[in-house]
């Protein structure tokens, strides 16, 4: 880890923060919650506390902006720079800025939080079924008032739970109208507008009047982004218009036509050929939680780390079940010392209020949005054992590998362990899903990285990387640089210096585990080096420093000098069955 030159840090522990404005990409409550969790990442391991204030000067001022946004360090449009923050101190020091030309989500794509309806503010579930049809965006079908809505479960037909989608016809953010919806048409600067506009602003935010005449009443609010709002292009925030015409053809969905980079786009008027108005369609976006947690690390005095898996590593990568890396913990505790650990939080109260219907008066809504409290996980129980599955009765294991010094035998959702160190014999059957959530029942191969202790699993052309129960993946093995000729990985041999040989068919690749790419010059023929072992081995693994190739009920054992020194029975030698 690194701290800033001069070890800049706060001289008090009870820090305050204030969110100056909000991105139209996400509901305000979702952004607030993401920032709260991002601060909790650091307060969980230090004596620091973070309190949100809503007016005045906070230690950490948070804002969204695009391009030049007032601090002399301009952002750069979509992608590229995502955010930045300043080290601790007064004024702009400690502040965090987020590029609002990015598409902010929770990292897995569009997050549409609903309001009103009967779903308690739940998010849309895409796709959902309504009157037998499937929809992947908010719709007005079934309504006469043109209000956008969605189901918050997979089937409105079955569950009847729904909510209203962000729309300027439902509410506005900020401004001076307490969330009142837009009034169309409205008069601004003498002209009549019947949609949101960026006219009159230099920051590109879309706004509208909340009365019929802005020139007269000066009442306004910012428009929330609809679910089909485009990112970038030349009409950021405007919704796609379907169908639209492009090069004479009609499109009723986003398309990558006309582009070489494959990015999906749409027109924001009905005719791109004449109007030339366009933008990119929503993609996975960037997790505001992960980026905020990183920037708040800077706000607290941490500089960039060179540990790839650390939160303070400068490049973005999405992680599903986030856990603070040891490098980050050491860094922040170097500055602020240890904390007493996370505070116990009560389980989330069950909703008791009745869902609200849509208000008749704009702005008088009272929502029953519940703050989700994270319930602490019970400490892990040892995995339950299924004695009915006896490893000695199994044939053709899906995969065999050594993890933490124990041989693991995988078969159809279950696995057994055998430790040559402990004379306890074979243990199990355990459930793969319990130990490695998200893995398929049938895997092809696995190996444990000697350096990081992470476990790599392969099934078909996909692979997962587990740190404990936390997984990255599935990802396609193309990402490792393995071509289509590898239908499945049959085994792996750890070779030291961060290299692992991956076998498939009669070939093997050498994987650089650190950069997760295969070295140049591979694949190579297995029998060039490993002569005398079956070329159609079902399992290949390293055990007690020797290479094991298994086929049917036999294994061939090879020394590091590539000499086969034993052929034996898996059942009697490796499992030591009676």
């Amino acid at each position: 880890f690194l701290t800033f030159e001069g070890e800049l840090k706060w001289d008090h522990m009870d820090l305050t923060y204030r969110v100056m404005n909000y991105s139209p990409d996400l509901d305000r409550a979702v952004i607030d919650d993401a920032f709260r969790r991002a601060f909790k990442v650091w307060s969980d391991v230090t004596p620091l506390t973070f309190t949100q204030i809503y007016s005045g000067e906070a230690d950490i001022m948070i804002m969204f902006g695009s391009q030049e946004h007032g601090d002399g360090y301009p952002f750069d449009g979509k992608d590229g720079l995502l955010a930045h923050a300043f080290p601790p101190g007064s004024g702009i020091q400690g502040d965090a800025h987020f590029d609002d030309d990015e598409f902010w989500t929770l990292g897995t794509g569009l997050e549409v939080k609903t309001r009103y309806g009967n779903a308690n503010g739940a998010s849309c579930h895409f796709p959902f079924i309504f009157e037998g049809r499937s929809y992947s965006r908010c719709i007005t079908e079934g309504r006469t008032d043109g209000m956008l809505w969605c189901a918050t479960t997979a089937s409105y037909d079955a569950d009847k739970t729904y909510g209203f989608c962000p729309s300027e016809l439902l509410y506005t953010n900020g401004g001076n109208s307490d969330g009142s919806p837009c009034v169309f048409p409205f008069i601004f600067d003498g002209a009549s507008y019947d949609t949101c506009t960026t006219d009159g602003r230099s920051d590109g935010y879309r706004w509208c009047a909340t009365t019929a005449n802005f020139d007269q009443d000066k009442k306004y609010g910012f428009c929330p982004n609809r679910d089909t709002a485009v990112i970038g292009g030349n009409s950021q925030g405007d919704p796609c218009v379907f169908p639209f015409t492009f090069l004479g053809q009609s499109y009723s969905a986003c398309t990558s036509q006309g582009r070489q980079d494959g990015k999906l786009w749409c027109a924001t008027t009905s005719n791109y050929d004449t109007d030339k108005k366009w933008g990119f369609c929503p993609d996975r976006g960037y997790s505001i939680f992960l980026v905020a947690a990183h920037e708040f690390g800077h706000s607290l005095g941490l500089d960039h780390s060179s540990v790839r898996e650390a939160l303070m590593y400068p490049m973005y990568s999405y992680v599903q079940d986030f856990q603070l890396h040891e490098d980050d913990v050491q860094g922040i505790q170097y500055l602020y010392g240890r904390g007493s650990g996370p505070e116990p939080t009560p389980p989330a109260p069950l909703p008791t209020e009745e869902p609200q219907s849509i208000p008749t008066e704009a702005g008088s809504a009272s929502t029953t949005e519940e703050e989700e409290e994270e319930t602490p996980e019970p400490t892990a129980e040892p995995s339950p054992v299924d004695p009915s599955r006896d490893a000695c009765m199994e044939k053709n294991f899906d995969a065999i590998t050594e993890i933490n010094g124990e041989l693991h035998f995988f078969k159809n959702g279950k696995y057994w362990t055998h430790s040559s160190f402990w004379k306890s014999g074979t243990q199990g059957a355990f459930s793969i899903a319990d130990t490695w959530p998200g893995l398929p029942a049938v895997i092809d191969a696995a190996f444990q990285d000697v350096l990081t202790k992470r476990v790599f699993f392969f099934a078909g052309r996909q692979f997962w990387v587990f740190s404990g129960k936390n997984a990255v993946g599935p990802r396609r093995i193309e990402k490792l640089g393995i071509g289509k000729e590898a239908g499945r990985i049959t085994g792996a041999l750890q070779r030291g210096r961060g290299k692992v040989l991956l076998f498939s068919g009669e070939h093997y690749w050498r994987l650089d585990v650190k950069v997760q790419t295969v070295d140049k010059g591979y694949p190579r023929d297995t029998d060039d080096v490993f002569t005398g072992v079956p070329l159609d081995a079902r399992n290949v693994f390293l055990y007690q420093d020797k290479y094991h190739f298994c086929r049917d009920s036999f294994y061939w054992r090879m020394t590091p000098r590539y000499q086969v020194d034993r052929v034996g029975y898996i059942r009697y030698d490796l499992l030591q069955c009676p």
Partner: protein, 89 residues
């Protein structure tokens, strides 16, 4: 079905007509994130100073230290990231 006619590729309004070259991308990146200073670029030959700065960046970001503008280094330079410089204040 195969497209009946070849796909048209157009330049969308607001998009750069030509993407920066790899070297331009590298120079901007190394300057922006503190791996090289303006004066350094002016003072020594571009190739030498770039190679040194590239090696420093590759080491900092855990890439293979080649000092060359190889594929993984270019990919790293195009990756979305934090705007705080990696070196210096």
């Amino acid at each position: 079905p195969l497209h009946s006619k070849p796909q048209a590729v157009i330049t969308f309004p607001g998009e750069l007509l030509s993407a920066p070259s790899d070297v331009e991308l590298a120079e901007n990146y190394l300057l922006r994130f503190g791996y090289i200073q303006e004066a350094e670029v002016r003072r020594s030959s571009k190739h030498v100073s770039l190679a040194k700065a590239l090696r420093r960046m590759q080491k900092q970001l855990g890439l293979e230290e080649t000092g060359e503008l190889d594929a993984s280094t270019l990919e790293a330079m195009r990756a979305p990231r934090c705007g705080v410089p990696d070196v210096g204040g």
